[in-house]
């Protein structure tokens, strides 16, 4: 697109003389009859992309925004330390790999945004991320070209993406977004290219593009779960093409089945396998205990080097008389805990507090007793009796000698539940201390096992189940977490497992063999991730970004507060232009279907052009909707940068629609204008776009002169909306 801008720019002073040559160039450009023209334009787009993206890529020389997270995760891969994050691993693994390959040693702590990178080789990671982000522009070019075979449309779409300041900002740092956007656009390139091969099915290029699409899909899902939307998009695209194949009665059913199987292989099996592979690498590389351990179950932790459960050995089976510690089986659950303090006046009976506590502590020890016998009654040489599923037991808190007890009193925080207390003297309590042990999905009479079994403790008299959740007790409870007896027995928070089991009479066995295998680890890390994701709720009063604000570019996001200051904000010309284009599309669409429904005669030329445009736009609008509308339904905390995948599709749509309008215009204006209107409008469009990029570029490349007294600085002039907070 640069050639035409410069050319139209040049043409302005000497219109009369050079009109002919300019027109020729434009006709060549519009028709695109030689591959040479295509390559020239494509080359210029690529060059400009590289120039804008890599300019000042090393600045600012400190940690920017979420680099603090993703840089840290990258370091942890290099150090092989286990961590927990709500996103799947591929993006972070790539960052780690980039760092490793470019000589980063993984020692920089990435504590908070603004920390200086002195002496750290961070540039490699940045450049690699930026390079992935830079691919978006040629990708857009190829997609639109394949959809419309119109060079102006492809150039328009690519330049809208190229000159958007927001995308530039977002793809210049060590973040997941450049990687995610790369894979999303890659998937779409794959599917359109694959579609272009439909005339020669099962050829090598056909298979190659199919596998390319599949691997790109797996890449986008394994970077962030929002990558699922592009999977749906590709799925719909595939269903449509299969449906057409199937509806063509010339194709035999076996032929259609072959097509179906090939696509299933390339677009379902391959991505799933790759997804597993990424997780396998993730779980194999991260083998050392780190700060993410607590989110995972005891069995999972026993696999991590350096964790206290690693290589631990204790009796597998639970016997009466054993001293155990119990961990709530929900994600991030604590240990059942008690201490000599009582519940305060006014919250139930004034008996000893029972809480859960996340740290390992002597106060987490409980003695397992029969419901009707004290351990003192037992002789040393009595045979060992094992606890079975459904047995009635009592649990005595070892340090204080009180039994785990519950009764019909409201719990201190969750009033609907019953209070759980420690009651009795030296193990002598009352009948309210009796609990029934239930092994989840266990057989009758099955022996209760350490770590492996999930248990439920049902209060014998009240019928409620021992529960803990992450609601904290007030100060009197040392802000430990509340333990209650839940009348809803089926609640998932009611599950516990035995983490430690001390009983000298039984042989110790190692838990290596009970450690989860890859599939179990895979499943567990997914449940943990999903819980983590749904836990990202905005807190009360916290102002979050709303989806309606995104397309209108209402508010940006601070990337770097220090010097230079960087602010993520879209190019308003692009954003608002996209909105106009969307309206144009819907109007055109309605008008077209109305005309068809009413049976108006449309000239075949117009009809063909319209059909082509509307089909391309239909797919782009679908992709835009898929990447934007679901955010309205999400309860989690949202940010402006979530809009950028949708923005890419919206910009491409603008390119296609704009091209259609530009092509239609010459026939609508008077004859003497019709030859010059196209070059003029193209020139006007590109100069506006480039000028707006020039105006807003400081937001991305760093704003220096920020003294508020300096009112005339460009930064003040471009603050068009009050809600932009730079």
């Amino acid at each position: 697109m640069a050639p035409n801008t410069s050319k139209s720019g040049k043409s302005t002073p000497k219109v009369s003389q050079k009109l002919n040559s300019v027109e020729k160039i434009f006709i060549k450009y519009r028709r695109c009859d030689s591959p040479q023209t295509w390559w020239i334009v494509f080359g210029v787009v690529c060059l400009l992309t590289a120039a804008t993206r890599f300019y000042k890529v090393g600045e600012p020389e400190h940690v920017v925004w979420d680099e603090t997270h993703f840089g840290k995760f990258g370091s942890w891969y290099i150090n092989r330390t286990f961590f927990f994050d709500v996103h799947p691993p591929l993006g972070k693994m790539l960052i780690g790999a980039f760092g490793y390959l470019t000589g980063y040693d993984g020692m920089f702590p990435f504590v908070k945004p603004g920390d200086s990178y002195e002496g750290v080789s961070y540039l490699g990671m940045r450049v690699c991320c930026t390079a992935m982000g830079a691919c978006l522009v040629p990708f857009a070019f190829i997609i639109v070209w394949e959809m419309t075979f119109s060079l102006p449309a492809a150039t328009l779409a690519a330049s809208l993406i190229l000159f958007d300041v927001g995308l530039l900002t977002l793809t210049q740092y060590i973040l997941l977004d450049p990687i995610l956007l790369f894979f999303i656009m890659g998937s779409v390139v794959g599917i359109v290219k694959f579609h272009a091969q439909r005339e020669k099915p099962f050829s090598i290029s056909w298979w190659a593009w199919l596998c390319f699409t599949g691997s790109m899909l797996s890449g986008s899902v394994s970077t962030k779960f929002v990558g699922l939307f592009v999977v749906i998009y590709v799925g719909l695209h595939t269903i449509k093409s299969l449906w057409d194949l199937y509806g063509d009665l010339n194709n035999s059913l076996t032929y259609v089945a072959k097509h179906f199987l090939a696509r299933a292989l390339g677009l379902i099996v391959l991505p799933v396998v790759l997804y597993f592979v990424y997780f396998y690498i993730h779980l194999t590389v991260l083998c050392k205990s780190g700060n993410g351990d607590g989110f995972y179950s005891s069995a999972f932790q026993s696999q991590l080097e350096g964790n206290s459960l690693y290589n631990a050995s204790m009796p597998l089976e639970l016997a009466y008389g054993a001293e155990i510690s119990l961990k709530n089986a929900r994600t991030g659950g604590g240990y059942l805990h008690s201490h000599i303090h009582l519940y305060p006046e006014g919250s139930g009976a004034r008996q000893q507090q029972i809480t859960t506590y996340s740290h390992k502590d002597f106060n987490n020890k409980w003695l397992v007793k029969k419901w009707n016998e004290e351990p003192g009654d037992w002789e040393d040489d009595d045979p060992v009796e094992l606890v079975k599923n459904g047995d009635l037991i009592r649990l005595e808190h070892v340090p204080t000698g009180r039994n785990l007890h519950s009764h019909r009193e409201p719990s201190p925080v969750t009033k609907r539940h019953h209070q759980v207390t420690g009651y009795g003297e030296n193990g002598m309590g009352d009948v309210n201390d009796v609990w029934r042990v239930e092994v989840v999905n266990g057989e009758e009479e099955e022996v209760v096992k350490t770590v492996v079994h999930k248990l439920r403790f049902v209060h014998y008299l009240v019928g409620c189940a021992l529960m803990s959740h992450n609601k904290q007790l007030p100060k009197w409870g040392f802000e430990q977490m509340e333990v209650t007896c839940n009348p809803n027995v089926h609640d998932l928070n009611n599950l516990w497992n035995i983490e430690e089991n001390v009983f000298p009479k039984l042989p110790n066995s190692s838990f290596e063999i009970y450690g989860p295998n890859f599939v179990e680890k895979f499943l567990e890390s997914h449940t943990v991730m999903f819980q983590g994701n749904s836990g990202l709720k905005p807190k009360e009063g916290e102002i979050t970004s709303q989806p309606w604000q995104w397309p209108i570019n209402f508010k940006g996001q601070h990337f770097s507060g220090g010097k230079p200051r960087i602010y993520l904000l879209g190019n308003p010309v692009v954003f608002w232009g996209n909105l106009v284009a969307l309206v144009c599309y819907f109007t055109l669409c309605t008008w077209n279907s109305f005309q068809i429904k009413r049976g108006y005669s449309i000239s075949p030329n117009v009809r063909a052009r319209r059909d082509k445009t509307l089909e391309a736009c239909g797919w782009l609008v679908l992709a835009w909707g898929l990447h934007y509308l679901p955010f309205y339904a999400m309860g989690r905390i949202l940010y402006f940068h979530h809009y950028f995948p949708a923005l890419l599709f919206s910009s491409m749509l603008t390119g296609v629609i704009l091209d259609y309008l530009l092509e239609s215009l010459p026939s609508m204006v008077p004859q003497y204008l019709s030859s010059s209107v196209y070059p003029w409008l193209t020139g006007l469009f590109y100069s506006t776009l480039i000028y707006s990029f020039y105006l807003f570029a400081p937001l991305a490349y760093g704003m220096h002169n920020l003294d508020p007294s300096f009112e005339n600085s460009t930064v003040h002039q471009i603050r068009w909306l009050d809600s932009w907070e730079f």
Binding site: Y246, H490, G599
Partner: protein
Amino acid sequence: MDTGVRNRKNKSSPEAEKAIKGKIEEITSVDNHNMLKESIEKLKHLNENINRDSVCDGGPKTDTTTLDRKGDGESAPDTPPPETAPEDSLTTPSPTTTTPSTTTTTPSTTRTTESTTKPSVTQKSSARQKSKNAAKSAAAAPPLELSLRLDGMSVFLFVLAFITRIWKLETPKGIVFDELHYGKYASLYMQNTFFFDSQPPLGKQLIALAAYIAGFDGNFKFDRIGTPYDPVVPVSAMRIVPAFFGSLLMPTVYNTMVELGLSHYTGALAAFLMIFDNAVLAQSRFILMEGILMFFGVFGLLCILKFRRFYHQPYSVPWFVCLIIGAASLSACVCVRYFGIFTFLLGLGILTRDFWMMVGDRLVSERQLLGHFLTRAVIFITIPVALYIGCFYVHLSLLYKAGPNDNIMTSAFQASLEGGLASIIANQPVKVVHGSQITLRHTHGRTCWLHSHDAVYPVKYPDGRGSSHQQQVTCYSYKDVNNWWIVKKPEVEELVVTEPHEPIKNGDLVQLVHGLTSRALNSHDVAAGMSPHNQEVAAYIDYNVSMPAQTTWRVEILNSELSDGYWHAVESQIRLIHVNSSQALKFSGRQLPDWGFRQHEVVTDKVLDQEDTIWNVEEHRYTRTEDKKEREKDLLRSEMIPMERKNLTFWNKLFELQYKMLFNNQENVAGHMYASEPLDWLFLKRGVAYWISANSNAQVHFIGNIVTWLSGTLSLVAYLGLFVLYLLRRQRACYDLPEDSWNKFCTFGEVLGIGYAVHYIPYFLVDRTLFLHHYMPAYIFKLCMLAAMIEHGHYLVSQHFKAPRIAKLYLGAVGVWMVSIVYVFWFFAPVTYGTTDLTADQVMSMAWRETWDLIIHKQ
């Protein structure tokens, strides 16, 4: 997709075209040449609108139906041009049987009689299946009585439903589940006391009306579930409202099914399933909204579907009646509960779809199209808006007294209510002057007042930042003596009201001195505790260090034109701008931790124009000293707020109430014991305990009829499976169903399937505690789908197996299945009606699934 397929089929089947021609011939012979063009036009509409036809000949047994149906699937553009029709008509005489074309030209009254000829058969046999009473009424009779018989079916269904609903209506004589709320609202209506509820008021008003007619005075405290009712509470009168609407639902469903082109048997079956479902019964037997909601929704849809019939008589009386009543009923549905918006949208969707079909009709000119569009738009805009505003008008004009939860509303709103804030602020001076004592309320959003207390900010926060260590200023949600501040002009020293008064005007500088601690409101360049990017607000303590006092604030009155620029109590909305930093005093929304007693944080913010920076004076009095009592008496006499409530216009009140209803999250009962997830609803995983007797195991447990429930889910799966199968086969040009059956299959799927989805799927996105009864509107559609699928099954069986024995076997199986439904209904009736004392064993025997938590509290 569908139309494309249909077109292809048309091209491939010449017989269909013949059938069309045949029809045209029939018309031409019946009508004379002048009417010819008109009737062709109508015929085309007829073809477009396949449903209407299948309605007219809904009964499967007559000869005419098979004839007529041939033409059903044709789309208008392929019909022969009108010019050829007359010639054909001359050559072939027409059969004399009644055809759809005659029906279309006859007035609507004839139609009803005619369409009842088949129902008589329907009714007879369905009645036989169910009860002997109906069989008597179905005896053969002269044609005139036939029209009464259609009503007979509806009436029969209504009566049957009504009997099951009002049986022992007054028991249990205690508050059942949400009667707690709705009963309370009714009693508040009786006492004209304002209450706040985040759902619109129509349903509550209907119940209140019934209570009013029954002479209830509202003197009963609805405090907890299970409390026995006093004799003064007209329980039966209040419960009869949902019971009545819940019973009306049955004939409505019956007619809707018929309108969808299904047979009368099927319609009756759907109503039967609904009558004998324990969940539907329970929801329409107690003072709950679902019965009313479901009736309005389905009735609205029925009208919209009926509207299709009058396609060829636009702007006639029945045309208008259907459209207007449909719009009214659908909007009533929204006025009962906001979730009814989905029913409304479904109705609107059907209307839009039908309109789009009309766009394709080239005999309707563009001008006519525009007219149709505008008429529909006007009706569907004015009626909903009028009804919605109307019921709020009633709501707000009835509730004029202050009530228990009106402090959600702004001070101005509260002041417009009798008693409450109005009585507190009565007699208080209007103009805020130097020396005024005020409480400053955060106007929008969370209710709280600017507050300070004798505690300081911690020296260091956990993240290492320091604070000013000055006295905390917070926003506190309760009335408290520490909410009082004294307004002071910076240049005047003493804290009493000066004579003459020095009123504060828009733009004046003031200081605010905390009443009890006498420290002035201050802000400075220190990051606030919870929101580090904002400035901290404190009450200034002079530590004699480098931090100077910055205690002047500028008063910006947002609605100063109302008060001539003066600062008035209650009505003036103000913003306090900190003079040194030009930032505005703001409620940040964050809660302080323990050191701030969990009150809310107050900061200043650079962004002035936001709702959280708006405050208003709520209580107000002048500071006086003892020796000036005489002067104060004069002062009080001179400036007084009149005793009666201040009048806020209806529109102001409405907008505020709307705003609060939509944006105020009422506290959500998290982790309710009987809460359930949308996925649990599909298989009836859990019920809800509604009531339990204090003395015995008698209880009301809200649980559906498990047989119907599971069959319903199965029918949805079956529909989806069959639909995909048919579609796949059609794409390969295998037409399993004749065009008319396929269209029928699509039509009922469109309305019932989409209706189900639209009422069910949104719950997956709702972020609040859900109960089984939220599923009820979707469940209605599921039951209709079940009945429709049984008819379709019968069709398939009789189509594929030539032996009539098999079809009879199928009907026999359906009969057995229906008996089992009645059995299960009867079995669970004790916990639906709650009238029987049960032993523990009996209760246990009802817990068919482990997750059904019926209560046993007496052995």
